[in-house]
Symmetry: C2
Subunit: 159 residues, 2 copies
DNA sequence: CAACATTGTTAGCCAAGGCTAAATTATTTG
DNA sequence: CAAATAATTTAGCCTTGGCTAACAATGTTG
C-alpha cells in the first residue's frame, strides 16, 4: 500500500500551499467535477433554448449552432439527446419547445448564471470577461457558495 | 438567415435577466469553455502529480488512481498521454517525474488553485465546500478575475 | 527463494461530443 | 409555381476519458 499517511495536517487554514487532503475527500472533489461535466453541456443547451424562446420567440437549430459556435450537425444530434431526456419536444424541421422539466432546468440554470455573473461584475470584473468566466463557473458553484455570492452582491448594491 | 437582430440592448448592467449577447460574443463564451475542458483534466493530473512529488516524494499510478477516484487502467492510459505531451517522464513500473514543462504547469495550476480556494474561504465558504468548488472553478477563472480574487483576499486578511 | 500480494500495463469495450459530406425538407422569390 | 436558397437531418468518422478483464512485473514475507 502506498499513500499510507492519508491525512497529514488535515487543515492548515489559509497558507500558500496546503498539504494533501485525505484520499476520500480528494477523490470526492474530482468526482464532483466529473459529474458536473456530464450535465453542464445539457444545461447550457437547455438554458440557451430557454433564452432564445424568451427573447426571440422561437429556438431554431441554426440559431443554436451559431450561438454555440458548433456545426448544425452537432446541434441536431444534441437535440435528439435532449428529446430522449424529455427536456425538449420537437417535430422534424420545426422549432423547439421545452417540456416542463426543460423549463425548470432552464430557469434554474439561468438563475445560477445570473447570480454568478452579477457577483463577478460586483467584484469589479469587466463585463466581457465576467460573461466568459460566468459561463464556465456556473456549473461548478455549490448552492452554499451561490448563496454567499448572492448575499455579497446585494450587500454591495445597498451602498 | 434567422437571428437577424443580433444585438438588441447589448449591455443592461445588472438587471436580473439580460438580453442575449451578440452572436459572436456568445459563441466566444462557449468556445472558451470548450477549450478549458480540453486542458483541464491534463492540468489536474499534472497538478496532482506535482503535489504528490512535493508531499510524498513520489507519484505512483496507484496513488493517482485513488486520489482521482478512477481505475488504474485509466491512469495508465493518461500517463501515456502526458508522456506524449512531454509533461512527465516515466519508466515502466516506476514512479513518475515531471519535465520542466510539467513542473511549470503544476506550479501555475497550484497557484491558481490556491488563489481560488483562499478567495472562497475568505468569502466565508466552508472548507470542504470551498475545496470542491475550487477544483471545478479553477480552470474557468480568467487572469483578470484571478487577480481581483487575490487582491480581495489580501484586503480582507489585512483587517 | 518461492508463493502471494500489490502494482502496472494492455486489449477491447462504450458513450459523449466534435466534425464533414450528402440527402432531405422548408421557405423565399423571380 | 418552379427554381433557388436555407435549414435540418443522417451517415460515418475521430478523439477523449471512462470501464473491466487478463496478463506482466515488482515487492514482500513465511
Amino acid at each position: 500500500m502506498t499513500d499510507s499517511n492519508p491525512n497529514a495536517s488535515p487543515s492548515a487554514p489559509s497558507m500558500p500551499s496546503d498539504a494533501l487532503p485525505p484520499v476520500e475527500q480528494h477523490a470526492q472533489q474530482y468526482a464532483t467535477v466529473r459529474n458536473a461535466h456530464e450535465t453542464e453541456l445539457i444545461e447550457d443547451y437547455v438554458e440557451l433554448i430557454g433564452d432564445l424562446l424568451t427573447h426571440r420567440g422561437e429556438a431554431r437549430a441554426a440559431d443554436i449552432a451559431n450561438r454555440m459556435g458548433v456545426s448544425q450537425a452537432t446541434v441536431s444530434k444534441m437535440i435528439r439527446r435532449l428529446n430522449e431526456l424529455e427536456l425538449v419536444t420537437s417535430k422534424p424541421y420545426r422549432s423547439l419547445f421545452l417540456t416542463a422539466a426543460g423549463q425548470e432546468m432552464a430557469e434554474t440554470s439561468r438563475a445560477r448564471h445570473d447570480v454568478v455573473l452579477n457577483f463577478l461584475r460586483t467584484l469589479g470584473v469587466r463585463d466581457a470577461t465576467a460573461r466568459i468566466d460566468a459561463e464556465g463557473m456556473e456549473h461548478h458553484v455549490s448552492d452554499e457558495t451561490l448563496a454567499i455570492m448572492q448575499r455579497f452582491t446585494e450587500q454591495q448594491e445597498r451602498r
